[in-house]
Amino acid sequence: MNMFTISGSPHVKSDESTKKIMYGVVIAMMPAMLVSIYFFGLQAVRVLFLAVLASLFFEWVIQKYLIKGPVTLMDGSALVTGILLAFNVPSNLPAWMIIIGALVAIGMAKMSFGGLGKNIFNPALVARVFLLVSFPVQMTSWPKPQPITEGLADVITGPTPLGIIKEGLGAGKTMSELKPEIPTYMQDFTGQMGGSMGEVSAIALILGGIYMLWKKIITWHIPVSMLATVAIFSGILWGINPEHYADPMFHMLTGGMLLGAIFMATDMVSSPMTNIGQLVFGFGVGLLTILIRIWGAYPEGVSFAILLMNAVVPLINKGFKPKRFGVKPAVTIKS
């Protein structure tokens, strides 16, 4: 006789799975990964390799020996964290720092909160900020991108475009004086600017974003509201005094803004649950980023902004509920 299964409805299941989502994100990161390898060469491969391996290793060690629970290495979440961590550091970072970064990301930001799905902050960003605060010199000397095709020359390091502006404006120069020093939009777009491994090429990041939208891994709400806020806010400032403030296009293309908007802020675990909440979240991130970039001590603000907004996500979730069916009648009845 057959042994039948009893369970509550529904009895069918979509083919969605955590694994699929995580590997979808990995695929979306491929273009940016390839661009980083193209520009930073073997160094990029080394950083990627180390960051991913260390993240997987720490996840495994903690799950197996500290928590003594099931090991869920294959769900891909540690892989995503590892790649994102690699994207967020300069390609010449010493190996031991990358490993410390991975430990902070997995151990401190993820596992200490209870593992996958329970962390409040984006693990890769926590690691990046940790490294930035702990090793400011290494974390701010960015190698200049040199396409592999041009041979393996000595690595020249330099500041990011945002750094140039911050310093230049601080020294009393005007924007038009700084113009020759910063890369053109076209260079920003393809990736010929100083910066961390993942953030250099806007086009690769946008490609990844389009893929994730198509696969319904992310929704448009966070990236759009974040970028729109940045554009509007920096545009107003630029309109007031173009000599003192950088233009919106520049803000959008530099300093990991796109990396943040597409891959970091949209992290499912640490972003709000409703579409309205996501719009608010994106707005907050955009606002804070510009505030930090223009008036803060650091030239770069996306990571801090996202982490700050991560902290208020529970509040956003409480405050912005989805539109309930039948709560406000859409149509009043004709009597």
């Binding site: 369970s7 509550g8 529904p10 649950m273 409703t274 039948g326 859409a330």
Partner: protein
Amino acid sequence: MGILKTFALGGIHPKENKLSANAAIETLAIPKQAFIPMGQNLGAPSKPVVKRGDKVKTGQLLAEAGGFISTPIHSPVSGTIFKIDNILNSSGYKQPGIIINVEGDEWEESIDRTEEINSNIDYSSQEIIDKVKKSGLVGMGGATFPTYVKLMPPPGNTAEYLIINGVECEPYLTSDHRLMLEKGKEIIIGTQLLMKALKVTKAIIGIENNKPDAINHMTELVKGKEGISIMPLKVQYPQGGEKQLIKAAVNREVPSGKLPIAVGCVVQNVGTAFAIYEAVQKNKPLFERVVTVTGKAVKKPSNFLVRIGTPIKELIDAAEGLPENTGKIINGGPMMGKAINSTEIPIVKGSSGILLMENEESHRETESPCIRCSKCTYVCPMGLEPFLLSKVSKLGKFDIAEEEMIMDCIECGSCQYTCPANIPLLDYLRLGKNKTGAIIRSRGKTG
């Protein structure tokens, strides 16, 4: 056709798998023994009026309504009452029921058994409602809410629209589809009767766009019929839910905690419309219905016209047997149906289909942690947050569950269908709904 209408919030699109869509309705042989449970409607169970050893005819009253929200039950077969005992219902619980040993098939004289279609409506509104009440009609879509209650709007409410539900958004099921194709004329007359009973002038028959043949057929039939229109709808689950269908058809939102009549709508299933035709025009009480027997491994997916009380086993046999690797039998559709553990369970008024699932597809996948992807929130047709509700239900915080409107959940299962972490969201939601409902009711008693 332009842009097709559908409901606004959430929704999913599971694989349709309408395997039996082309199988014409067959009349199933009468079983040797019929098992008739007393609780076949939402509300109070019926009370038997026959006793052991009585001879009954097909269509004879077996049990009377056991309360205001209850219906009478009529004998689906003719024969001798074998015993009145506990019989297994689809939940695996025993409940009182009547077992009849079948002898021949002798019908009550009052039933009109001719094939002729009687389209003269010469009854008043009240007469129609009385007939519906006497015939034991319930909602045939599966909710089994007594039909006559819906036909009597509470004071202060007037019906404006009658919406006939031909959506059949559940995957696999095709009984309503076949009924529209084969009994379209009767359904239209049933609709006219309902319109008369409700005193409404407008009726909309909503049909999903995956049944173009039914849409064409019904559009042909309503030509020249005053007030009835056919509305093709975009395929979207759970469009068959009352509130969703009203939103899709007339763009009105039933307020939270209210009935459809609050926005002037009454929704009836096409199966119910057909049953009303038979009850009013043919004097035939509800004792048979169309049931789909389907499944990927089923040799002959079919639609059967079955007497109430026939064990499911007989239907499976008629569909050429239980496939070897059956792992789950579902009474109803795959999204909202009930898994049963025995083929002895009888067909009741609310059974719309029997789905046999293969062993491989009948198991749940291992649960993994919630990654807060909020897909459940996106697909919820009621705008709820299933991840939150299931969590608070699990933790027993029913006050929060109530605040977050758990009672609005229609248990459509979209959230669990879509969850990438395989969390049994609906299980916990049901639990929470159950307990929260009990708390609300007890509060009503004391306060």
